[in-house]
Amino acid sequence: MSKIPLQFRHNGRDVAIFVDGGTNLLVALRELIGDMTPKFGCGQGGCGTCSVLIDGELHLSCLTLAETVAGRSIETLDGMKQGPNLHPLQRAFADHFAAQCGYCTPGMLMAAKALLDRNPSPSRDEVIEAISGNICRCTGYEPIINAILAAASGRVSA
């Protein structure tokens, strides 16, 4: 099978890989780049655990053809920390015990970041809408919603 060369920005760094035609971005990130933060939950666009930002916009990497991100900028949870420090969203999730098994957390955090990047002070309904493509089987969503609202209003621990 012939491979296609592909270059894009991954959390602020340029990366270059060769992909098979038809490879999705989730597989490219996990298996070729080695960034394990986006998770496989369904491969069908149903769960959001694979959520990443492409040029600042929320996308499901399992439904994104890798080839289509050539020259674009990808953000994943792996790039969320600010140097050694946690991003306020990460701190808020911890403060609110907004993770149990933690498997939905990378996707939730990316969905939340996409929201706060474009709308720094969302309403509860806007938060709910922003994460409604992300399934969490453990928490019942309440702590996740509260964490995002707290991060938005700067109510996070140091």
Binding site: F93, A94, R137
Partner: protein, 532 residues
């Protein structure tokens, strides 16, 4: 919002502890929010191959022929694994605790018993190539009549789902096709009750739907061992099950897991590990076997459905005098863990209430659907639904407030429970009182003053006289099959009845666990010899 009611039962606790009782941050939280928690699938191994299975398209059928010629030639295919390649291709999970008979192959050989049952495993360079090869496998089926309803499955003449249990029910104590609970004389009490209410309840199957699907990666390690990264929620259960199926000592495996993307009971069955390890044994390469979401939803084991009939006798003053229950667990095509849940369910009867006459029959029934397994609240969730809906109806029937009705009938310290153990450390009454208070649901003073620690025991501590029933003769243990389905199923007749034993006879000795069963002994085509 969570409030700790430290005022209640304060005299039973020492609250002077340093670490216990604190809302300390989770040890794994930092890993979760930075995405560095390591799940089984986050291990990337050099030269990893991918395993996918061919699943039955039929709910019940003989397999006439499996043609893999084209699949073998398909690009990227490294190995096709058949049932005959599995060293011990018959197992039941609870054989590890000597409960039940081996009844389930890892890969079906002659017959499939549910839609989605694995028939072949294909190991290929990529998942995509594995899927392409799967599409080229031709399986010739001879469809058989299937049964999907638990009560139909128990009728004479129903299609036999699982030949290990020819009457489509798990056999308890080598005697009964159900687990019994007998406490007092329910029939007599029902006959003299003011009201009798009989109802039917149906719990749906439930998919665990963890966000991480089941899976495992197995890789050859040094010294002939295999390292296995796994999503299991039962580590040594899985280690020992793999050792049995693959017929090697369990320390052949180094299992690593422990950080799991949700389980809820759906990651106990050890479905992916044996085949991933066998793939690694046969190819000498790391092999990954992960369920896709559709596989997880349809062929990963669900919480089984349960059908429950309850017949209660209640007096005008609200006291429940008898409860008679018949429950059917839909185990699907194989036993897995449902046999255990039925016993747990029997012990749970009649719910957290003191009822002087209780009668229960709980069946574990085989049908042609995906085998069921454990799930959060296993054996109890559905029964609680049935009992508590019934309680609401009974309260209505006698014109009582449902909270007060619960408190009136609640079990208390010192009461005798129907499984013949004294109730201790009870707190149902207090929970009802506090929930009522929180919900601003008024209850009368006498019920607000009730306590789990008062008014129990005494006459409520007695085991009531319980009529003995005629006892069936122990059924001959079903044969352990080495050739699965070829032998015609012999019709089994109802065993003759014996006269009832005199009431003074002590209960029969508990069934002795038989020697650990290790399933069908097969000459292994994998190793040429049987290894041990």
């Amino acid at each position: 919002m969570l409030e700790l009611r430290k005022d209640i039962f304060a005299d039973e606790r020492d609250d002077n502890l340093k670490e216990i009782g604190k809302g300390t941050q989770r040890q794994d939280m930092l890993g979760h929010v930075t995405g560095t928690s390591n799940y089984f699938n986050d291990h990337k191994l050099q030269g990893m191959l991918h395993l996918k299975v061919v699943r039955s398209t039929q709910a019940h059928a003989r397999i006439r022929r499996i043609d893999t010629t084209e699949a073998e030639r398909s690009a990227g295919v490294r190995r096709i694994i058949r049932g005959t390649d599995v060293p011990v291709n018959l197992n039941t999970l609870l054989s590890l605790i000597n409960f039940g008979k081996d009844d389930e192959p890892s890969l079906a050989v002659d017959k499939v018993r549910y839609k989605g049952e694995p028939i072949l495993a294909i190991v290929a360079d990529s998942e995509r190539e594995a899927f392409e090869a799967i599409a080229k496998v031709k399986v010739d089926y001879e469809p058989l009549p299937a049964v999907f309803d638990v009560e139909d499955a128990l009728k004479p003449g129903a299609p036999v789902v699982n030949e290990t249990y020819p009457k489509n029910a798990f056999i308890y104590h080598d005697v009964y096709d159900h687990q019994r609970l007998r406490f007092g004389d329910a029939d007599a009490a029902l006959a003299s009750a003011d009201h009798v209410l009989e109802q039917r309840y149906q719990m749906s199957p439930i998919e665990h739907a963890p966000t991480e699907t089941n899976g495992a990666i197995a890789a050859p390690d040094t010294n002939g061992r295999y390292v296995v990264y796994t999503s299991t929620q039962a580590l040594f259960f899985s280690v020992d099950t793999c050792a049995k199926i693959l017929d090697v000592p369990s320390n052949t495996f180094h299992f690593i897991g422990g950080t799991v993307g949700g389980g809820f009971g759906g990651k106990v069955d050890t479905l992916t590990e044996p085949l991933a390890i066998l793939g690694a044994m046969l190819t000498g390469r790391p092999v990954r076997y992960v369920f896709g979401r559709e596989e997880e939803m349809q062929y990963g084991p669900p919480r089984g459905a349960e059908r429950i009939y309850i017949k209660d006798g209640v007096m005008r003053d609200g006291r429940i005098v008898a409860r008679k229950i018949r429950a059917y667990f839909d185990s699907g095509a194989y036993t897995r863990l449902s046999s255990y849940a039925a016993v747990k369910c029997a012990a749970h009867l009649p719910g957290p209430y003191t009822i002087p006459n209780v009668y229960g029959d709980v069946y574990c029934v085989f049908t042609n659907r995906t085998p069921a397994t454990a799930m959060r609240g296993f054996g109890v969730t559905a029964m609680d639904f049935a009992i508590e809906c019934q309680m609401d109806k009974l309260a209505n029937l006698v014109g009582m407030d449902p909270m007060e009705f619960r408190i009136l009938n609640a079990y208390r310290d010192g009461d005798m429970k129907a499984h013949r153990r004294e109730a201790k450390n009870t707190a149902l009454i207090e929970c009802v009182q506090v929930a009522a208070e929180k919900a601003k649901w008024p209850i009368r003073d006498e019920f607000r003053r009730a306590s789990s620690r008062k008014d129990g025991g005494g006459s409520r501590a007695a085991i009531p006289p319980t009529p003995t029933e005629s006892r069936a003769r122990p059924a001959a243990p079903a044969q352990q099959r080495t050739s699965y389905d070829r032998a015609p199923v012999t019709a089994t007749r109802e065993p003759p009845r014996e006269p009832p034993p005199p009431p003074t006879t002590p209960p029969p000795p508990p069934p002795r666990p038989s020697a650990p069963s290790h399933g069908a002994t097969r000459f292994s085509s994998v190793f040429g010899t049987r290894r041990r």
